[in-house]
């Protein structure tokens, strides 16, 4: 094999390998993650520009600063671990810390601090989009609908979206019923 062919093959395998790694990582989350249900506070209408998706805003994206477990304040860009506990409306935040909890400690979700306000912080978990089939019904058109995002969380706090529950019904099933 010539040097040039080896280099070209390496460049192609780098792209294909990284893509495969991304897929494998998400599949691993879906297979072995801990299932949590997170309440969705706000949702926007469908946006056809980026494919068709629901823009979901999790209730735990805004955390009171009183939940801080560390003495030092957090700043925008800091990675934090939000401890979760089961509540009446799915899982809720029980505290947050910049220190990575040990694997055997409480269930936690990893996020990045976006804004620090006077009495709360805003956190981005990278769980803002739930893609839906083209032409699917927009659940935000229904009043008083209960939306929950089903996320599978790994021991290191990374989460992968599995489903969006509309009044407790998986999105596809709810959409078909409509």
């Amino acid at each position: 094999m010539t040097r040039r062919r080896t280099l070209f093959l390496g460049a192609v395998l780098l792209q294909a390998g990284l893509l495969a790694l991304l897929v494998a990582s998400e599949e691993w989350n879906l297979a072995f993650g801990t299932r949590v249900e997170l309440a969705v506070e706000g949702r926007d209408p469908l946006d056809p520009l980026a494919g068709t998706y629901q823009d979901v805003t999790l209730a735990i994206e805004r955390l009171p600063r009183s939940l801080a477990r560390d003495a030092a304040p957090v700043a925008p860009g800091d990675r934090i671990h939000v401890l979760l506990r089961s509540g009446e409306n799915g899982h809720v935040a029980d505290g947050y810390t910049v220190r990575e909890p040990s694997p055997e400690s409480d269930l936690h979700l990893r996020g990045t601090v976006r804004r620090v306000l006077e009495d709360e912080i805003q956190v981005d978990y990278g769980l803002d989009r739930y893609y839906v089939p083209a032409g699917a019904r927009d659940p935000s058109l229904d009043r008083d609908v209960d939306l929950r995002l089903v996320v599978l969380v790994r021991a290191d706090g990374r989460g992968t979206i599995e489903d969006l529950l509309v009044d407790g019904v998986p999105f596809d099933e709810w959409n078909r019923g409509r």
């Binding site: 070209f8 893509l19 897929v23």
Partner: protein, 394 residues
């Protein structure tokens, strides 16, 4: 004059005794040196046609997937993406390199593969409900750079530069947004400084290519032709009278994205100067950094006066660009400098003068006189400067 016409004219001059064989040879030698290299138009057309063909195939595939999205199982979607990605790259390599013989079509397919990787990232994001972030674009850019070095294709280089530019702007705006620095003026100042630093980085990278390194040397002129426009845009964005408010406060946080880019630019310029010995590119890059940096820093001291300084710097910078292009053998600098001067004069005319004129016809007359004057000037001077630039070409 067309090359065939030149050849016929030389034949006639030789036939009527005006030129002897030795003098004709010297004239031909000089013409070869002066005239731009002949383009293989058929080959260029083949490249364009092949690229359009690849884009149409990609669009067709995307359209098919989009219309049958819900009917295709996840494994089939992923399998299809990998098959297409590997197929495009394999075909591209086979046609361009081994056994070769179809370089334009091969490079077009490789470019299609580079674009397809972005589509593949988008598909995976959609399948797993992943958020769109600048990181994905950075990954796309980083894994596409090797194809620029391997193919030395301007098309792929342009794609890679576009990816890096979009990533840099997106990452900077995202970073500012996270710090509540998302007012229009704050974003404009931050992006203006970023553009100046980017111009410096491109000049540095062009300098590294000018040092005879084969993989980069083909990219050097193309990188150079993007560097000066980036520097021009950085100043032009701040040259409008109403853009800067008097109470503007320049915070250090605002300049962090530009500072990061400037650090990369300084490293590239230092490497270009010391390793590749490209002192002209290093000087150009340093000038871009200074020209873009001074007005931004001035905004922190005297925001009300900044627009005057920006316009003076812009004017001086463009004149220097034309002079440098003519002296250092870079016709692209001459053309860009003249185009910049034209845009600057017309912009300031409409901004400052036209709105004060009571009658609309006066505005049209004024603009017409300016354009005629510029045309007259270009007719007389541009050709001279371009010729001088070609004579000075190293």
């Amino acid at each position: 004059m067309h090359r065939d016409e030149l050849r016929r004219a030389l034949d006639e001059l030789e036939a009527d005794g005006t030129l002897d064989a030795a003098r004709r040879a010297r004239v031909e030698e000089r013409l070869v040196r002066e005239l731009p290299p002949a383009r293989d138009r058929a080959s260029t057309v083949a490249g364009i046609v092949a690229t359009v063909g690849v884009l149409l195939i990609a669009t067709g595939v995307i359209h098919f997937v989009a219309t049958h999205w819900d009917d295709i199982p996840k494994a089939a979607k992923l399998g299809g993406v990998f098959a297409l990605l590997l197929g495009f790259h394999h075909s591209g390599y086979r046609l361009a390199e081994e056994p070769g013989g179809w370089p334009r079509v091969g490079v077009a397919l490789t470019a299609g593969g580079v674009l397809l990787f972005g589509a593949a990232l988008g598909l995976v994001s959609q399948l797993y409900h992943l958020e769109s972030t600048p990181d994905g674009l950075l990954l796309w850019w980083a894994t596409s750079v090797p194809f620029v070095l391997l193919t030395r294709s301007r098309l792929i280089l342009t794609i890679v530069l576009a990816l890096f530019t979009i990533w840099a702007v997106w990452a900077a705006v995202d970073w500012l947004d996270g710090r509540d620095l998302d007012r229009d003026l704050e974003v404009l100042v931050a992006l203006s400084a970023l553009a100046a630093a980017y111009a410096g980085l491109l000049a540095g990278l062009a300098g590294l290519g000018g040092g005879g390194r084969r993989a980069w040397s083909a990219a050097a002129p193309w990188l150079r032709s993007f560097a000066a426009p980036a520097a021009f845009l950085s100043l032009y964005a701040l040259s409008f009278h109403d853009v800067v408010e008097e109470d503007f406060v320049l915070g250090g946080t605002l300049l962090v994205p530009a500072a990061a880019m400037a650090a990369a630019a300084v490293a590239a310029l230092a490497a270009a100067r010391t390793i590749a010995g490209a002192r002209h590119d290093a000087a150009d890059g340093a000038a871009f950094l200074v020209l873009g940096g001074v007005p931004v820093l001035l905004l922190g001291v005297a925001p009300a006066a900044a627009w005057i300084v920006v316009n003076v710097l812009l004017l001086a910078g463009l004149v220097l660009l034309v002079a440098r292009g003519a002296r250092r053998g870079r016709p692209e600098y001459v053309n860009l400098g003249l185009l910049g001067l034209f845009v600057l004069v017309l912009t300031r005319y409409f901004e400052l003068l036209a709105e004060r004129l009571q009658h609309g016809f006066l505005a049209f007359l004024g603009a017409g006189v300016i354009l005629l004057g510029v045309g007259f000037f270009l007719e007389r001077k541009r050709r001279t400067w371009i010729t001088r630039a070609r004579e000075a070409r190293p």
